[in-house]
């Protein structure tokens, strides 16, 4: 009989332990972890803040799995000891019973530890720990789409706050009747990308718009892009490929004019991406912000390719990973949110009160399940 995680159910006195190859891998990880722990005491490392951070970050990646493996080794040791006691105490019924009880107690513990370790060993998204730039762009539907984009922004802002993340608007393009044609938000915090990435895609809304006088239901869309932050290491941009200009009106410039128009227009020729940055008070800051947004977008394009490939390979059921995929429909009349990847419905009120955690957790669980299946093959 197989348990939920694909491990053989523990039968009496017949615990199936981890295979040797797995144990070997885990012992290697533990050794590297110990070495990194030692490095933290090295004066060369202590006196170099950047190096110290690197070592600490590297070490913390394996901390959980090393801890789980340690526990596993201890439990196995206790289990073997109890088994030995059981075998050696033939005839002593009380002793045997004690030993059997101990083995019974340890079995589920060991089972859980093994499945925990299995999950920790799964390939993770390299971008999971990163901060993000979240961009909402109104799609089809005119003013109503702009308003819907604004509704999505409200939900995400509250969700970020609830998670203790720092969210700052860095570019806004308001709609004439409310909401936004497009809006970009910088989100900083713990493991932001690992959660928000599941919001990327096309969101569709079906409701009677505020601007609709005859009570007809309209369908509009908004596209959410979640771009992990990146730097020159992740994305190489050749300045020769970039055309930058100001968005100032004609006529004289320089000393002749003091209109504080510091907006910048950036065009990246190879990709065709155009970014307009108006937010900052200094031209330099707008230039830097435009470059940051360009790099985030280019990096996201690469990530998208990789994800589409990876999901196709495992025959994923939770969507293609493409950024223009329709992921959810919000229906006001039926008060529900349908997630097309989970093939599940959620109450609209939950969404409107910014409680998107359950939807995100469900995506994470499904993603993990799929990865586990692949790991087992």
């Amino acid at each position: 009989s197989i348990n939920n995680y694909g491990f053989p159910k523990i039968t009496k006195l017949n615990l199936e332990k981890m295979d040797d190859a797995m144990v070997q891998r885990l012992e290697n990880i533990s050794r590297s972890f110990a070495a990194l722990t030692e490095r933290l005491g090295d004066p060369d490392v202590i006196n170099d803040p950047k190096l110290l951070r690197q070592v600490m970050s590297e070490r913390s990646k394996s901390e959980e799995i090393v801890g789980a493996f340690d526990e596993y080794q201890t439990c196995i040791g206790d289990y073997d000891g109890a088994k030995e006691l059981f075998q050696e105490s033939a005839g002593d019924e009380d002793m045997r019973e004690m030993a059997r009880e101990e083995m019974k107690d340890l079995e589920p513990k060991i089972e859980n530890l093994m499945s925990r370790i299995q999950i920790l060993m799964l390939p993770t998204d390299p971008n999971d720990d990163r901060n993000v730039m979240l961009e909402i762009r109104a799609g089809t539907g005119g003013s109503e789409a702009n308003i819907f984009a604004g509704d999505l922004l409200d939900v995400y802002r509250k969700y970020c706050q609830a998670n203790g993340w720092q969210a700052t608007l860095i570019d806004t393009n308001t709609g004439d009747d409310g909401g936004y044609k497009s809006v970009t938000m910088d989100v900083k915090g713990d493991k932001v990308y690992s959660k928000l990435k599941w919001e990327a895609g096309v969101h569709r809304v079906q409701r009677v718009p505020a601007t609709e006088s005859q009570g007809r239901v309209h369908t509009s869309t908004a596209t959410v892009a979640v771009m992990p932050e990146c730097d020159e290491v992740d994305v190489k941009v050749d300045m020769k490929d970039i055309e930058m200009s100001t968005m100032r009106s004609g006529g004289a410039g320089g000393q002749n004019v003091n209109k504080v128009e510091t907006a910048v227009d950036l065009f990246h020729k190879p990709s065709g991406i155009r970014i307009k940055c108006t937010q900052e008070r200094s031209q330099l800051k707008n230039k830097e912000l435009a470059m940051k947004m360009l790099m985030a977008r280019l990096y996201d394009i690469e990530n998208e390719k990789r994800e589409i490939e990876e999901r196709a390979q495992r025959g994923s059921q939770i969507g293609t990973g493409g950024r223009s995929e329709k992921i959810r429909t919000y229906n006001w009349k039926d008060s529900r949110v349908s997630d097309h990847r989970l093939k599940q419905n959620f109450p609209l009120s939950q969404f409107l009160s910014s409680d998107i955690g359950p939807m995100i957790e469900a995506m994470i669980a499904m993603d993990q399940e799929e990865k586990l299946k692949v790991a087992m093959e």
């Binding site: 930058m244 200009s245 100001t246 100032r248 004289a252 410039g253 320089g254 000393q255 002749n256 004019v257 003091n258 504080v260 128009e261 510091t262 910048v264 900052e280 008070r281 200094s282 031209q283 330099l284 800051k285």
Partner: protein
Amino acid sequence: RDLVRRRLEHEPIQYIIGEWDFMDFTIKCRAPTLCPRPETEELVEHVIHQIQNDQQQHKDNDNNPIQILDVGCGTGAIGIALARAFPQAEVTAIDIAPEAVALSNENARLLQLSDARYKAQLCSAADFTTEASTAATSVMKFDYVVSNPPYIPFNDMETLTPDVRDHEDFGALCGGDDGLNVVRDIVAMLPQWAGESKCTCWMEVDVSHPIMIRDWIGGSGNDDVNKFVEYRQDLCGRDRFVRLEVS
């Protein structure tokens, strides 16, 4: 209400708020000292790249401080930006307006730049000889001269919008008939300011100037010492910046 009234009278927003951002820092702005324009940020960027390139090429060279002269410092934006970008730089700044000198020094102190790193003094370009220089920079030997001098030709002054014309210092804007009065002073003084070694001079000028300056200095000009290296356009596509060199 008072703020709105001031804005309706075309008072520059930087004066009303009292400060504005320049590159990655904030400086105090006060009438009638010229408020820094975005083009001037580009001027500073060119100088920064220049200095970085020069440093790359002379890596083995001295740990001597880089000597920079900012002519017509105004709010102090240019010199302060360079001092911030290069911790080993020592900036001397001059201006003919006492308000500008005071404001430049005030901004420098507010941004944690000591006297030794940034000092503005009251002096015109033409009068800035070795004797005029204060004790702080008694060595007349600048590696870089940077300037955003008054450069608007006299006839263009009447085309200016009220916010500029009625509130900012005429002396900080008008450069004489062709706009090149102060530029000429700078070019005349450059060999003296350069001392023994190479000196690079970057200036922001009127759109009509780069070609004129090139033809005057570079081509058949009677100037053997100064060399016209290049001119560049600003982000609006206008001829705006010139680079000269004294060897």
